[in-house]
Subunit: 438 residues, 2 copies
């Protein structure tokens, strides 16, 4: 698609020397006595513009001398390949320069600004090549996932984010004024993606927002996040969900490595590895024994893992199997939602898993309980009122196939893939308890 | 991806006669004296199962006699090609039948139930082949759009749905209890997709929910809808946005026709046509003259079109150009948001358009005003307080390229593509002023 006469910076190197038009923003200006240099950046890269000062170029020289960093400009000039130019071995000798919009000269953030300051000015922070790359990686990753799903006969759904009641827990629920009454923001698409099963959709996926009124300020939580969900019919156990899940991860990482591997290595110092199939699977109880043997005792009152435990088991898996991923399986019923199916021979355990990537949990998956009488019992046991769950329980009363699926945090995957320590770095606009702006 | 030993119904016809396993739900049962027939349906189609009654098949016969419609079953049997069988020329002679989940025998909806009743039981309504097709079409359409965007270097973004203030109008805003304060649900991703322009992303797209506290009950409005958005840098006018938009529509419809054209003709009686490029463009003032000449006077106090006017101009375009689409351009500044750019030579008109498809508006697009001083003036003129828009106005103060884009209702496109008269038919779960369930 060509909208205007314009060459993207990334495409310049392949052109022969000659006239070009380039459009982007001013990254830096070196205003010297005999020659001026401007580094222009666009969505695809950076290029050096050059203006030797003489009588003919005086007008351009004056404009350049007044150029504020960040201003958007359109330039024409003569492209010249020159190995001595550090920046890509090319430069553009200016014949014209038009300032499209002038920037305020004082940039409010610097390279060493803290994350909160940078988030205040996220639109400037996103101009950094690393940030630009994050979202190109996101684009490639999602497209690879969706392509895999489409090729495997999945149906894409968009479930409502406005609900009459909670889908996960009443504790972290946002309340909405809804005409004369109340609505709640979906904490996950759980109930509605399950609805696709009695609806006979077979296999579904969704990528969309989810909301948690979680007051915590950790580096890996947000009040709004992009949830990647899939749900499939006719499974025999959680194993079938894991098989789908691991194939999906391989498809995504393969596409990202192919398209951005070199750039990720350059800008993030990360050599992406395509994981081998199958991913290691370790029952949670065994994982805890392994971690304990490594000298770490999980510090939790319940049966769950903790973040250090996840790091430890990931380190073990990396050492033993050379793998970045591990499925922790068979979580205790006591710490899983009522809709997880339990083992037939040991109801204290569920047909569920967490997927850990580079030491951090990115996803929870499970086979769902589809027998309505068992489901009601499990809900009661968790202190839930089956009457409040009425619409959800109806899904199971008119026939439903055995099914299961997972929910996964998109930004967590990106954070771990690019070895970032804070989710905020890889979310377009972060939302937390004290952040609604910009 | 094979999860379990199972053949999808749509793949049976290509198999040779022999043993098969099929899984799905009971569509109908004909329980005759000498032979029993069951139509089994799955996500891909329907197949006839047959059980001749004799001593050997008595157990299966008893199960079939007790089968409730909608129950999910697993069957094995002998596939046989037989041209006399109406349903696809194949049938499966049963060797086993397992009921996975029994349905309540009384189905709460019938083929002639009204839309509200059917929405109460949407998960059963979605079992109808037409409904299944709607969402397979949705999947193909979205994937074709995203593929086109990805091939054209667009970046996919997920903008926050929780905002500190309104993005469109204060009138139709949902308020959220946000910890100690308030937040609002995004009425569109407008401000945030524009933010990608000063961020230097170049071209972006998003498919995600948008929320309007619109109390109306028309056949084409919802309080939550899936918005399809794109925004591109370095345009010269709204014409560049339309060029992108029309190419996208062609890519989508081409993919849908290729994959589902025959089925759409069969189930909806619609012969999909791939629109020719370019789509007709008619300035709104001219469209009104044409409609008036056809004997219809637009009944509005302001300068806008009305639904009947849209139908009339669409009929005109169909007669004159044989086209299903028309861009109505150059809407009056008085009825467009403050962020639409106005014509340099006539500030009473905007660089904007509506896209009309089969007689109904599906999208609004425009070049955006990127000059911050002009933007502030236009905001004031609309009675908005620039201080409240502070974070948005900042996007334009540090440099921004000329840009524009569109927002489009996904379900409107589907509704019009499949000649449905009510949006509720093509939304997975409709949300309206009095509907939050299921």
């Amino acid at each position: 698609m060509t909208v205007t006469e314009r060459t993207l910076v990334k495409n310049l190197a392949a052109l022969e020397d000659g006239p070009v038009t380039v459009r982007g923003w001013v990254d830096t200006v070196r205003d010297q006595k005999k020659v001026q240099f401007v580094v222009l950046r666009d969505e695809s890269g950076a290029v050096q513009l050059v203006n030797p000062r003489n009588d003919e170029t005086e007008q351009i020289a004056t404009t350049i001398s007044g150029l504020a960093q960040g201003s958007f400009i359109t330039v024409t000039g003569e492209l010249k390949h020159d190995e001595r130019v550090k920046l890509g071995g090319i430069e553009v000798k200016l014949t014209s320069l038009t300032v499209e919009t002038e920037a305020i000269p004082e940039t409010p953030i610097a390279a060493d600004s803290g994350i909160d300051k940078r988030l205040d000015w996220r639109f400037l922070d996103l101009r950094r090549p690393e940030m630009n790359l994050v979202f190109r990686v996101q684009t490639t990753l999602e497209h690879a996932w969706r392509t895999w799903w489409v090729e495997n006969d999945f149906i894409e759904i968009h479930t409502p984010k406005l609900m009459a009641s909670a889908s996960e827990s009443r504790a972290e629920l946002f309340e909405v004024e809804y005409f004369e009454g109340k609505a709640y923001l979906a904490q996950s698409p759980q109930f509605f993606k399950q609805m696709a099963q009695p609806a006979g959709f077979g296999r579904v996926f969704e990528v969309g927002p989810a909301f948690r009124a979680d007051p915590s300020f950790t580096s890996r939580h947000a009040t709004e996040f992009t949830s990647v969900d899939a749900e499939i019919s006719w499974i025999d156990s959680a194993e079938d969900v894991m098989r789908m899940h691991e194939q999906l991860m391989v498809a995504g990482i393969t596409a990202v490595k192919e398209k951005h591997g070199a750039e990720i290595a350059e800008l993030f110092g990360v050599e992406l590895e395509i994981p081998t199939l199958p991913f290691p699977r370790i029952p949670l109880a065994e994982a805890k024994r392994i971690v304990a043997e490594r000298g770490y005792e999980v510090q939790r009152a319940d049966d769950d893992m903790d973040p250090e435990g996840e790091r430890q088991i990931a380190a073990y898996v990396k050492e033993e199997f050379g793998h970045d991923f591990v499925f922790l399986t068979d979580y205790a019923s006591s710490i899983r939602p009522f809709y997880h199916m339990r083992h037939a021979d040991d109801p204290s355990l569920t047909q569920s898993y967490d997927l850990v990537y580079n030491g951090v949990e990115i996803s929870t998956g499970a086979q769902r309980e589809h027998r309505v009488d068992v489901l009601i019992e499990q809900a009661k046991e968790k202190g839930l009122d089956p009457d409040e769950l009425g619409f959800y329980l109806d899904f199971f009363r008119y026939g439903v196939p055995p099914h299961g699926g997972f929910g996964m945090g998109l930004s967590r995957v990106l954070m771990l893939m690019l070895h970032q320590s804070n989710l905020r770095e890889v979310v377009y606009l972060f939302r937390g308890p004290t952040r609604l702006l910009p």
